[in-house]
Symmetry: C2
Subunit: 187 residues, 2 copies
Amino acid sequence: MSTNAKEAILAAARKTAQAHGYGGLSYRDLAAEVGIKAASIYHHFASKADLGAAVARRYWEDTAAELDAMLAEISDPVRCLHRYPDIFRRSLEDGNRLCLCSFMSAEYADLPEVVQREAQHFAEVNIAWLGKVLVLAGMAEPEGSEARARAIFAAVSGAQLYARSRSDVSQFDALIESYRTSGLLPA
Amino acid sequence: MSTNAKEAILAAARKTAQAHGYGGLSYRDLAAEVGIKAASIYHHFASKADLGAAVARRYWEDTAAELDAMLAEISDPVRCLHRYPDIFRRSLEDGNRLCLCSFMSAEYADLPEVVQREAQHFAEVNIAWLGKVLVLAGMAEPEGSEARARAIFAAVSGAQLYARSRSDVSQFDALIESYRTSGLLPA
DNA sequence: ATTTCCCTACCTATCGTTAGGCAGGGTGAA
DNA sequence: TTCACCCTGCCTAACGATAGGTAGGGAAAT
């Protein structure tokens, strides 16, 4: 655990934050999970704000890489759009967890600025990717693609939030299906 | 403040919870806002869980009354649907606050059961009303109206969450407009 | 006389954070 | 080769602040 302690902290903090938010992050619990003492975390992160920002940054970095990999693997943009909600679905399957960005959007008023910025960047990454893929799929003109991408991102976030409050992944699936029926997402 | 202390606590707690969540509710802060001492709150609410549940219950009761009043006043169901997002918009205008139910959905894992139930009921009230109005507007068959209502509720919640993370009500307006363009909401 | 409403004073638990130290490895000078 | 020095990574112990909650009493209203 020595050289990987920092990574272990980041991973544990991400999982906790997706279930209990930034406010739910506790140095003592986090340290216990990693196998060190609370004070030792300060060797890797200068403050809770720094830790939170690092977790959020890593979160959107990983998501950006995942989205790019998906587009590279599945060349068909329509199929990419079809698979997009799976990213949110996976969080629900993994212990009924929420998107970190959604949780931090709720906690927004109590977040240090550095954390706010990184959380916002997750949304920007998603919207930029969706906008690009929408144009590739011929489903939007370049001018209107970002607005449409934002709508999809917000709606999928809302679906995840609702499904979490029911502890029921099938509610998420049903909502995504409704989005397709109504025309927000490609059928 | 004597006879109205309970109501004053409920009102203050609601405002705080919409900005900082159930976890952000503090007996000391709440009492200071109302003009009494923290321990005195226990005369009105047996525990924080009880207070949270009472706040959430009052929240959906008020919303249910507001929705019914809207439908009674504006007989046209299509215009009702058009005005529905305004309820969420108003929270954002009032100090960038979130729907209590959305905040509690994020906090779901850390909520006492009584609070969970009341928070869920808010969604049920909204979905039932939307389903009814969708049928009245001829926009859905009775069988599929609830699924469509849920989709609208989740999407509008997501739009509010996104707009909050940007502290920008116009982002909410733009998202609602996108929902109309894409067909999720009536144009 | 009893209930209502609020008080002071205090409890225990947990929070992020700090001070200071200890063991081990790497490095440069003698 | 050996010794002094510093960095890394972690530790123990404690800090002040804040959390929800409790015990018991005072004063006013019924």
